[in-house]
Symmetry: C2
Subunit: 284 residues, 2 copies
């Protein structure tokens, strides 16, 4: 997905939000905002939003240092989701279409996103909504078919906590799953530590993408991850950041997400609040 002009005010907002989240003092917050304004002036306009957003977060990190500021929030999100896990498993077990239910739950978990706001919406309310809501883009039949033909799948994680919802889907998949997380902490995106906390190590091969960028920016990822990405017969890609970086990555990629941002909604062609299973296109 291209970067829209509407993303620019949002980058400034994200920089400030991250600076406050890291408890920088007022003077440092001012410096973060000013440096972000300078960065945005010179950043190439043809990058995707996560590529620019990652540079913004790297800038914030220069002030914060190499710490995982969201570690506590991530642990709390994971814990909250783990408490729901037995009930989520039961929902799948009792479903007439367990795969559809597991996909929906994985999408429901995508509401956990601390990049833009401090709190996510109530998780059970989101689950109820997503279980009954029609898909605004429904490439689920193609995903089913793709999974039936594949011998393994690469699963690109998004946020910590959401990982528990992904686990419910992963445990429902009848094939080998390689679950890829971020190489270094970025906002509340899941790292290896977070995936293990969520119990993913029991049902998937965990790998790092070797990068601390938002989404999946292939030229910032490790050669090992790129090798997995190139060889994967099918890729399940979770969340907005992965959609923004992989929406034109070809027909092996299926993006599962909630459209939470109006710009992304417009890019997909759906209203905010929509749930989406979208097969990526190949760039023209």
């Amino acid at each position: 997905m291209k970067t829209y002009l509407d993303c620019y005010p949002c980058f400034v907002h994200q920089a400030l939000h991250a600076a406050r989240g890291a408890h920088l003092d007022e003077e440092q917050q001012i410096a973060v905002v000013r440096n972000t304004l300078a960065l945005l002036q010179t950043v190439p306009a043809d990058l995707t939003p996560p590529e620019i957003g990652s540079r913004v977060h790297m800038l914030v990190r220069q002030f914060v240092g190499e710490v995982d500021c969201y570690r506590q929030e991530k642990q709390r999100s994971t814990q909250e989701a783990l408490e729901m896990y037995p009930a989520l498993k039961q929902l799948v077990a009792q479903s007439q279409d367990p795969f559809d239910t597991a996909v929906r739950l994985s999408i429901a978990g995508n509401i956990i996103d601390l990049a833009m706001k401090d709190e996510h919406d109530d998780l059970w309310a989101t689950v109820d909504r997503v279980l009954s809501q029609p898909y605004a883009v429904d490439d689920l039949p193609a995903l089913r078919k793709g999974l039936a033909a594949a011998d393994w799948v690469l699963f690109l994680a998004d946020n910590a906590g959401e990982t528990v919802f992904d686990r419910v889907l992963v445990e429902n998949l009848p094939l080998r799953v390689v679950y890829a997380v971020k190489g270094t902490p970025i906002v509340n995106d899941a790292t290896l530590e977070d995936a293990i906390d969520a119990g993913l190590d029991g049902c998937a091969q965990l790998i790092s993408n070797g990068s601390g960028a938002i989404g999946t920016v292939l030229n910032l990822a490790s050669p090992e991850f790129r090798d997995f990405f190139e060889r994967a017969p099918l890729i399940i890609s979770k969340g907005q950041g992965n959609y923004e970086t992989l929406s034109e990555a070809g027909e092996r990629v299926f993006c599962l997400l909630q459209a939470k941002c109006p710009v992304i909604g417009r890019d997909i062609g759906v209203p905010v609040g929509s749930i989406v299973v979208r097969r990526s296109t190949t760039p023209a």
Copy 2:
């Protein structure tokens, strides 16, 4: 009111919104956004938000030229409000406290604000809400007292259309009213033309503040306006822009507004959606 860091993303948003409102093409929109980023890096941080916002709008105007891009929208807002005018007059006439009702209607009209969004909320719904909603800051008793002691009042207008709601209040005031509008068009703020369209010339002395800045920036206003401002025994100041520039302008000033922006709400200490009659303080 000081400029908060949260205002910076909003300035970028406003620049883009104004560029689109003026039908600039994509390339010009990009230039507006980049120039705004540059401007914000160097703008003194101790200016009020309308002072910075006005510079942003001046920048946009360099691309647009000297046209009143919001003229049509302003005429439409005025027309819509004029259609409500007889019913608004009746509400005041039938009220047990006509002054309170007229103040509330003037505040209700403050929902008309195209600076941040393309459409305002439904006007009758807003009137109903504002007529029954408690004031979140209630300096109405002091305003009553001030008006009883004054021989004239300076009334600082905000948006076109809102002017019709102001007219209902002006017609209820038992003293001479000088109604001040913007000297040059800025967003949908009322100019002399708009005030005349709203029928204010029949009940008030109309003056221009000689400036195209948002709110009331005294050092950008004309000497004639500043003279009115200095001599006025009482000043009624409408809307967010005037609050932002005059919140510490002393006890002669009463700000009537709806808190529509979270930063302004926080500055006043009230939730978004609040209605406010607030006597200005004197800077410490």
